[in-house]
């Protein structure tokens, strides 16, 4: 009799608690969707030929005049969509790697992907002299091979997060040395091209970039959503997850594979854009207050961050547009610091 009162109170509190978190996450997702749509209109509407927001929307639904439609559909929309998709891929990949490595500083860098793709791209540009497609393909292959090597070297009866981080740092350091060596030996024009690629840029992106990226995300993001169920259990420690019946190593490997593929897709679309993978999951997590990897909210945050960065990159100094990677670092970093400062002031850092 005495025990029923707390039990009932527990059950009621339980239901209330378990409903509150998803509701807030849903709200954040709704807000991010609106933000992404608004940014899309801004991205398409601004430039040397400004278009009013209403005309942008008209053109998007096929009701605009021919000049506006040309600017929107051929020049600006594919670039904006590439930014959106690549940002989403990087945000999701970042969330996966932060969860797998149990480290808020985790990103695709920890598995050496970025270093591998950079080394391959710089080699392609400075030594072979390949075109954009060759560079994109080379960077994907370089990244994938490096990721495979890091996983293999970190494997010892399964892969522990910290081993992955350490092996990744070692391999990345060597590859960065190779990049620097290649840059010091190359012709100055090649060095310039290589450094623009290394920063990450969305210049001249067209529909041929949008479709493959969209197709890849159409497969990879649903896969992420499915794999998240086990991933959030693994966050509690290998023993706890195994005791609950999770195949820990299989979950870790499949998540790493999807994370690497997402990074590869983004890198092929716009180069190794910095910090989106690092900051998007952290910002999303702070907005939702949710636990678990939060891959979907991180993807939406990544899309918003990349899109906003590209608008700023183009418009900040209209005469000399910046590569998007310059802005993502500054914008994402500033926003994260602002959020952290806000949390610290509220007394829960």
């Amino acid at each position: 009799m005495i025990a029923t009162a707390p039990a009932q109170r527990g059950a009621a509190a339980l239901a209330a608690v378990r409903r509150a978190a998803p509701r807030r996450t849903l709200g954040v997702c709704g807000g991010l969707t609106l933000a992404v749509l608004a940014l899309l209109v801004v991205a398409v509407g601004t430039g040397d030929y400004p278009i009013a927001p209403l005309d942008v929307v008209k053109a998007l639904v096929g009701q605009g005049d021919s000049a506006t439609s040309f600017v929107v559909e051929t020049l600006r929309l594919p670039r904006a969509l590439t930014a959106l998709l690549a940002g989403a891929a990087l945000g999701a990949a970042g969330a996966i790697f932060q969860s797998v490595s149990r480290n808020p500083l985790g990103s695709p860098d920890i598995i050496g992907f970025t270093a591998g793709s950079s080394a391959a791209a710089v080699f392609e540009i400075t030594v072979i002299g390949g075109g954009t497609v060759a560079v994109a393909a080379g960077s994907m292959i370089g990244g994938l091979l490096t990721a495979l090597a890091v996983y293999g070297l970190a494997f010892r009866d399964g892969v522990q997060g910290y081993r992955l981080v350490l092996v990744g740092i070692g391999i990345s350091a060597m590859l960065e040395a190779l990049v620097n060596y290649l840059l010091t030996r190359a012709k100055i024009e090649d060095v310039q091209a290589a450094s623009v690629w290394l920063t990450g840029s969305l210049n001249g992106r067209g529909w041929e970039h949008v479709w493959p990226t969209l197709a890849a995300l159409g497969v990879l993001l649903p896969a992420c959503a499915l794999l998240q169920r086990d991933l959030k259990m693994v966050e509690m420690g290998d023993d706890t997850a195994k005791a609950l019946g999770v195949s820990v190593e299989r979950s870790r490997l499949s998540n790493i594979v999807v994370g690497v593929l997402l990074t590869a897709v983004a890198t092929a679309a716009c180069g190794p854009v910095a910090f989106v993978a690092l900051t998007a999951p952290q910002i999303a997590r702070r907005l939702t207050g949710a636990t678990g990897p939060g891959v979907m909210t991180a993807a939406m945050m990544g899309a918003a961050l990349m899109l906003a960065s590209d608008v700023l990159a183009q418009r900040l100094f209209p005469s000399t547009p910046l590569p998007v990677g310059v802005v993502t670092g500054a914008l994402g970093g500033l926003y994260l610091i602002w959020l952290l400062a806000l949390e610290a002031r509220r007394g829960r850092a």
Binding site: A3, G10, A13, L14, A20, K242, L244, S247, R285
Partner: protein, 269 residues
């Protein structure tokens, strides 16, 4: 036929063999406590029984089947483990953490159900963490946190529950609280419990079946009232002591021998 047993287990980490040719049987319905000096292999044996490590030789049988031959989720519906250390995800609430114990009962198509809700609130009531439901796990005290992890293991609703040093890092009050809770679970819910404990007196008081280990082998096992005496303690721990009756429960109480001062007359028992 017992539900959980290990046959001729050889357990090792890399090259270091912890136990060789070890047979162990967990009596059904018992509160089994495993004791022994540091590094005697007691936690390793428990981890092998919970399929956390793979024996180099021999096998663990659960309900007559090799535990490795059963699907992982199937095992998790029969056998639970509270490991020595778990990581509470950032900002997770008590209710959400305990709810994760329902994982083995859920699937892609079978998500959260009223049955899960019941199991979680029953587990929280049993461990008296119901009032903490909306608190963040990282702001709880050590004793509260251990009760929450225990609640998660309980929500798993397994007839067998293994606990790896559940009282480590807790002060004496919380140690007794957790052990009382275990005894309740054993008596009221009829679960079979296996715990590794450091404190021999706690083991004697709570165990219905005691397993004493030394250097990877079982030295003695049985009802603590019949097997624990000064000779056994000396043989297992190398500690000279007297064993008296616990004034509270009548179970064996180990009183270590006092340090002999130089020149003082020896008081051999």
């Amino acid at each position: 036929m017992t539900r959980l047993l290990g046959e001729r287990l050889t357990l090792s980490y890399d090259d270091r063999t912890v136990a060789a040719d070890l047979d162990v049987t967990i009596p059904d319905g018992s509160f089994t406590v495993v004791v022994g000096p540091n590094a005697c292999g007691k936690s390793t044996m428990l981890r092998a029984l919970a399929r956390m490590i793979k024996p180099r030789e021999g096998q663990v049988l659960l309900d007559g089947h090799a535990i490795t031959s059963l699907p992982s989720k199937e095992v998790a519906r029969r056998l639970g483990l509270l490991p020595q250390s778990s990581i509470a995800p950032d900002a997770i609430t008590v209710a959400d953490l305990v709810a994760r114990g329902r994982y083995p009962h859920q699937g892609l198509l079978r998500q959260w159900s009223p049955r899960d809700e019941e199991a979680v609130s029953a587990a929280m009531a049993a461990t008296r963490v119901g009032d903490l439901a909306d608190r963040h796990v990282d702001e709880l005290s050590g004793g509260q946190r251990q009760r929450v992890w225990l609640a998660m293991a309980l929500a798993q609703e397994t007839p067998l529950l293994l606990l790896d040093e559940p009282t480590t890092f807790l002060d004496i009050t919380h140690q007794i609280e957790v052990l009382d809770l275990c005894a309740e679970l054993h008596e009221d819910q009829g679960r079979t419990l296996v715990a590794v404990l450091h404190d021999l007196n706690h083991a004697c008081r709570y165990a219905t079946h005691l397993i004493a280990m030394r250097e990877g082998a079982i030295v003695a096992e049985g009802d603590p009232r019949t097997i624990v005496d000064a000779d056994l303690v000396e043989a297992v721990f190398g500690l000279r002591c007297r064993v008296v009756d616990d004034p509270e429960t009548g179970t064996p109480l180990v009183v270590p021998a006092a340090r002999r001062r130089a020149g003082a007359a020896s008081s051999s028992s």
